[in-house]
Symmetry: D3
């Protein structure tokens, strides 16, 4: 993806992005019910590479399926591009794992930007200590074969009730994960950057005792001139 867009998205919040998308009529781009295993990490930014799970049927999912190098889960881990985010459709079912610590290690080692499931990860305490961004619903120790069969790679999926198309730009912060349609990512990133600068100004003013009325949004002329001056002074 565009390095400038990535750089901008590293510095904005999921909340700000949601507002920018809301203004474009996209009201449902925040993946519901997931959180970062390690909330202290920097933003996760990258294009979506997807993995679709379906319910597992017992006879098709013995432990031996992993002997097949072509198993979609393992293929997803080896083929997810550097810099991309692996997004998994686990049908919001965290009763069995979507993946575990070793696969997350491999993704990290391959330069993947992060991983998201609307189910749960196993080995979650280990994953939380990796230098890697991972988001899930809750820890889940049972192997994915218990309930999930990996079936498709790089197809459009749902994750946490959000449409995820391969190539959409996925951004995660300590709050959660937002999905930006590929075509509007640059524009959204720029607008979110502008909005972040303004909100930094507002925050400072509010901490200095100013009311939000007239300031947020800046319906008073004074708010706009103050912001212009502040921005110039800060060089932002």
């Amino acid at each position: 993806m565009n390095p400038q867009t990535r750089a901008l998205l590293m510095q904005v919040s999921a909340a700000t992005l949601c507002t920018v998308l809301f203004k474009r009529g996209l009201r449902n781009q925040f993946i519901q019910g997931v959180h970062p295993l390690n909330p202290a990490r920097p933003n996760m930014v990258g294009p979506a590479f997807t993995l679709r799970y379906m319910p597992a049927r017992e006879d098709l999912n013995p432990i031996s399926v992993f002997n097949d190098h072509g198993h979609p889960q393992r293929q997803a881990v080896e083929r997810c591009p550097e810099g991309a985010v692996l997004v998994m459709d686990s049908r919001k079912d965290a009763r069995a794992a979507s993946a575990g610590g070793i696969l997350m290690c491999r993704l990290m080692q391959r330069g993947v930007a992060g991983a998201v499931t609307d189910g749960g990860f196993r080995d979650s305490p280990d994953i939380a200590r990796l230098d890697f961004c991972a988001y899930h619903q809750r820890p889940s120790a049972p192997t994915n074969l218990t309930l999930h069969q990996a079936i498709d790679i790089d197809v459009p999926i749902g994750c946490g009730d959000v449409a995820v198309w391969p190539g959409d730009i996925v951004v995660g912060d300590a709050e959660g994960v937002v999905v930006i349609p590929a075509a509007s990512a640059e524009e959204v990133a720029r607008e979110a950057h502008e909005m972040t600068v303004f909100e930094d100004f507002v925050q400072e003013q509010v901490l200095a005792g100013r009311s939000i009325l007239g300031l947020y949004p800046p319906t008073e002329e004074r708010s706009r001139t103050d912001f212009a001056a502040w921005r110039q002074a800060r060089g932002r």
Copy 2:
């Protein structure tokens, strides 16, 4: 599908089929949370033809998408084979419809055996009056574009937490819907038929005042000889 298998499956219950599948280690073949719109109909039997929905993004799902003859929902309705069952993965979300009355009419008219969604149908009162088997979670008036985007046809899906592979044999009765793996359908049908004959005998005995102990299952020799005599007498 094999007409003899179909004939047998028209006469057995979802409950009996679940027990036969349970004995083969398949514990999760009953589609959870769906019921027939018209419970007075005969069984629905046919191979699965599938339709996968993903969450709808607003900008991709204006009402005009149906102007495209290739739209997967409309294609599914026109391509689902005669005698097959159209099974839809609606992610168990009934807040918007999976399909409505006109599409069900068209399926009926084309000789399709039935339709199942783990979401909801709209025009449900009309559908309930058709000469057609339909199963859903609950009525849902909003157009599918509100929340569901049709994306794939005839791929493996989940429906009501059950794995559905294209070609699996789908059987519905007044209780609900069970999915039989294609490869074992004939064998399962035969065993379910045998079990049904035995349970008819048991039911008759119980109504005549006999205890279930030793009879159901027939752990007493007498139960087995009585059944043999009963079966011969009835010619079953």
Copy 3:
């Protein structure tokens, strides 16, 4: 409300209304999770008159509160205008009743058009036999005082996740209930009527063996001319 609008709305379905509203950007006007106690009744149509419940605190809700003629639940029943629909915000909690048979009788007797709760009614078998439209989530025998305190009349509320403003036009059929913003009710009714005529034509064509492609929506010229002819022939 306008009698012509009412007449039109008596003849269209909740599904059709949802599509008309969807085209206007209103995607969330179908009250989720409620159904009619008696699905054989004609449509329910009328402006919303609302009642808001909040959680009941034990010390404020002994049985004696109903000795107060000013109790908001009883006031709502006596003040809901003739022809209106009493819509109750029960916070989707059906563990205790929103109201019971005697209050429904009184509403019916007063000429109220119907009642909707996103909780449950008690005496539901009796209510189902009244000449009155009532919609709820599920039967609930416990008195409302157990969990619900009536607190406000004729204020904007939520019902089944839908915004309901006093005066909005509420339409219920055998499928469920849809809420039309007051200002657009006439226009929506007219468009829904037109759409119903067209769908009657489509249904007839489909039952006669015609494909939905090109017909629904009528992307082919022939569909539009056939419809024009059909409409003229039927005088609709």
Copy 4:
């Protein structure tokens, strides 16, 4: 149980009983989320006889467990006293059945008054046609061994979030099921009978056009004298 108490309870509603219990400080005696398989039947009345299920472990629950005549589920069916109600704690889990048609037949044949589960029954269409009262959450075809292991008979249990002690009086109508503590059953039955007579009077008055204010509850003197006269006239 006392035949007079039973006779009174055959004629009152679950709703009325809930109000009588509410006045005694018992706010949680209505079994949540269950309904009758056949709502056209008379009331179900009888003392509770209980069966407790726990989650099934695969190795302990092959189909062969029913060869054991001592299996608690089968014992419960053979030992539940005539006139009693078999109440099952299925942990509100209807993904597998609590029992099926043959066991319900046997209970009916043995003179048991009814059966309640907070899970689901299999063979539910057959059960609905029996001369027997049965209440559940929803139909469920999978055998109980899939998820439920019968473990205890006649112990205190929970059913639909309600405490059920063996011997409590269980009353079901078309709306649902209420549990009356054994010690207060007679008193509760008498008060519910009185309340039913009064509500019949109120219903008649309301249908004749009278306001509920002052009548229900009868805060006006006139309401009380009218009721006295009405009661005498009807001989109730």
Copy 5:
């Protein structure tokens, strides 16, 4: 509020307060499903000032609504009294935010004691770092306009299934939030203080190896005399 009451409530736990309220027949005063964004903070104590949200209708909730200085959400933030707790009824829906970081800053700066929603806050990582008590269900990045319309200020509401009346005393600790009816706050605070002293004694005894039987509650005379001595020795 009474400074002594506040001082006492700063030192007791939500758990102890729930027990004191339970003894008074109030069983449902703990806000279900919320937790502090920063669990390391001191107690939050103050009278409730409320904000009610209803579902948002798309046409009434464009981003421009915040240009109106009278918008109820913004008014709530500017009018919530110093020392009060802003409690929001978000219908337990955390799919969109109830409020965000800048509004929390403003509340903090204005001397408000804390904020509670039964939905979610956006900018939650920022809020967690403020010198301010905030409680929610889970982080939620989408702007409140997506799903919530602020409609009323300082009316009785529900929050997490609890009745909250303006002026009720709200107490939050690291475990959660409890609501004390205004009229009994002083009495409850005093009793909770007494109970806390006793439980400190019990905890010390238990850590020293004493059984809870006879001690907790102090059914043995020795427990009561030991406590009296301990209390005198500690000057509590």
Copy 6:
């Protein structure tokens, strides 16, 4: 329990144990929806000692019930054997507490290995600071009498949808809790230990840049010889 088995189980993860159990056909041994109050603690290992709660009826559960030294909750705390794990069936209902800080102190002081509820603990911040392993769903301040009546000790129960038989070996780590049938505990512990050694090897290889294909599982001969060498070199 066997000290060697305990020692092995102190060093393996819940995830590894789930896989070993999955291979034996046990797919449902991970307690769903619970997490440790203090995730930094070492593993919790011990045989299950159980406590069953049922729904509380108001008249049977005044605060005075704890004056009875024989109350099952208090008995459970005093009788749970040293080294065992107290597992509570709270019907997954965390709206009221399963137990609180003083009881956890007493269990810790008595040498109990830990406590698990599928509901919630009160005084959860205090419990998190104890030298004691405790697992629950979420904090819950209301006293257990509000919703839970302790009824049975040391009977088979369900906890988080898992069957727990007294004497089963319960293992908790930072991810969650797994239940091992008593009879297979030693064998499972040994296999889990072996698997842990292998996964430590795999993790090291992956961090060094090796692909998971052929390595995990070790389908390539080289993976097996490398592991043998690594193991010898590490003396494991």
